[in-house]
Symmetry: C2
Subunit: 214 residues, 2 copies
C-alpha cells in the first residue's frame, strides 16, 4: 500500500516519543514507580525535560501511554504473525469468535499468560499495578485506561455467547468474566500460585460448567 | 472461666506488643509501606528500637504479625457477638458448615466485604498488599502468612461439599475457590468495581451453577 512519507519534524517527534516510552518502561522496571521521575526518563531518553512536559502532564501519564503503545505493538506483531501463517484474525479490538466459547476464552487467556510471563512486559506492568494498589489516583487511571478496555472485550464476547445460547440469559457479562480473569490477575499480582495454560483452561471449564453437579 | 493472672513482666510485654502493633498499623496506613520504619514505629509506640528488634527481624515481620493479631481480635469479637445472640459458632479456623454450601459461602464473603470496607482494616492492609505486589519477598510472606491460610479454609469447606455431593468430584478445591474469592480480591486491590453483598452473592451463584445453560 502506498503511504505518504511523514514530514521530518513528525518523524523526529515519533522517534522521541518512542525513546521516551522505552526509557519510562525500562526505568520503572528497574527502580520501581516511586523512584521513577520525569527527569530520569528525560535523561535516559536523551531529551529535555520540556519535551516530556509538552506531551504529558505527569509520570503516571507517560507510563500509561507507554503501556498502551506496548499493547498496540504486541497486537501488530500478533496480527503479522497470524497473517504469515494464514490464520484468520479477529477484528481489531475484539476477542476471537469461532462459535466455540470455551476454545476462544482459552486461546485468549493462554496468550495473556504468555504476556504476563514475558519479562519485557512483566516488570513495568507490575510496578504500575503496584502503585495503582497503593495510590487511588494512579489506580483509577490504570483501571480506566488499561484494565477496563480489555475487560470490555470479554463483555462483548460473552454477550455474543448469550445470543448464541451458550451463556444463560440472566447472567451479567461484566461480573461473569471475573470468574476466569480475576483468578489469573490475583495469582499474578499477589504471586499466590503458578500461572500456566493448564490453569487458565481449568478456570474456563469451571466457570462455564460450574462447581455443582449437573 | 477462672484464669491465672499473668506475672507483671508478661503483662508489660503484652502491653508493649499491642502498642507496637497499633503504631505499626497506624503508621503504614498514614505514610505507606516504603516510608514506615522501625524507628518510626518505636517512637509512636513509646518504646525503644531495641524492644522491637528483640521480637521482630524487620518491619515486614512486625506488620504481618500486627495483621495476624488484628485478625485474631476480629475473630474473638465475632465469637463474642455471636455468643451474645445465641448463634452457633463454627470451630475456630473453619468456615461455617450448615450443609448449605451457597449460604455458607455467601455468609463468609459478606463478612469479608464488611472487613475490606472497614477503614481500620483497609488502609494498612492495602499498604501491605501493595508492597507485596511490588516486592517479591514481602509478597511471598504476605501470601504464606496472611492469604493462603485463609484460602485453605475454603479448601476444607469445598472438600466437605464434595463429600456431601454438592461439588463435582473431579474439581480441584484450591482452584475452585478462586472463582469467587479472586474477583472480590481484584475489585478491592485494583478498585476495578464496587464491592457489595449483592456482588459476592452473585459470584457464588455463578461459580456454583456455571455460566452455560444447565
Amino acid at each position: 500500500m502506498a503511504q505518504k512519507s511523514a514530514p521530518d519534524s513528525a518523524r523526529r517527534s515519533e522517534k522521541s516519543r518512542r525513546a521516551i516510552y522505552d526509557a519510562a518502561l525500562a526505568l520503572v522496571a528497574e527502580v520501581g514507580y516511586p523512584k521513577t521521575t520525569i527527569e530520569g526518563i528525560a535523561a535516559r531518553a536523551g531529551v529535555g525535560k520540556q519535551t516530556i512536559y509538552r506531551w504529558w502532564s505527569s509520570k503516571a501519564d507517560v507510563l500509561l501511554e507507554a503501556f498502551l503503545d506496548l499493547g498496540e505493538q504486541a497486537n501488530e506483531q500478533a496480527a503479522a504473525a497470524a497473517a504469515a501463517v494464514g490464520r484468520e484474525q479477529p477484528e481489531e479490538d475484539a476477542l476471537p469468535d469461532t462459535g466455540d466459547l470455551a476454545a476462544d476464552l482459552k486461546f485468549v487467556l493462554r496468550a495473556t499468560v504468555d504476556e504476563l510471563l514475558d519479562p519485557k512486559f512483566e516488570a513495568p506492568y507490575r510496578a504500575l499495578a503496584a502503585e495503582g494498589v497503593a495510590d487511588e489516583k494512579v489506580g483509577t487511571e490504570f483501571v480506566a485506561r488499561l484494565l477496563e478496555p480489555g475487560l470490555q472485550l470479554y463483555v462483548q464476547r460473552l454477550r455474543a455467547a448469550q445470543e448464541a445460547g451458550d451463556v444463560r440469559p440472566g447472567i451479567d457479562p461484566r461480573i461473569a468474566l471475573e470468574l476466569f480473569v480475576a483468578p489469573l490477575a490475583q495469582r499474578w499480582l499477589q504471586r499466590s500460585g503458578p500461572i500456566t495454560h493448564e490453569y487458565t483452561d481449568t478456570l474456563v471449564d469451571y466457570a462455564l460448567h460450574g462447581l455443582a453437579p449437573r
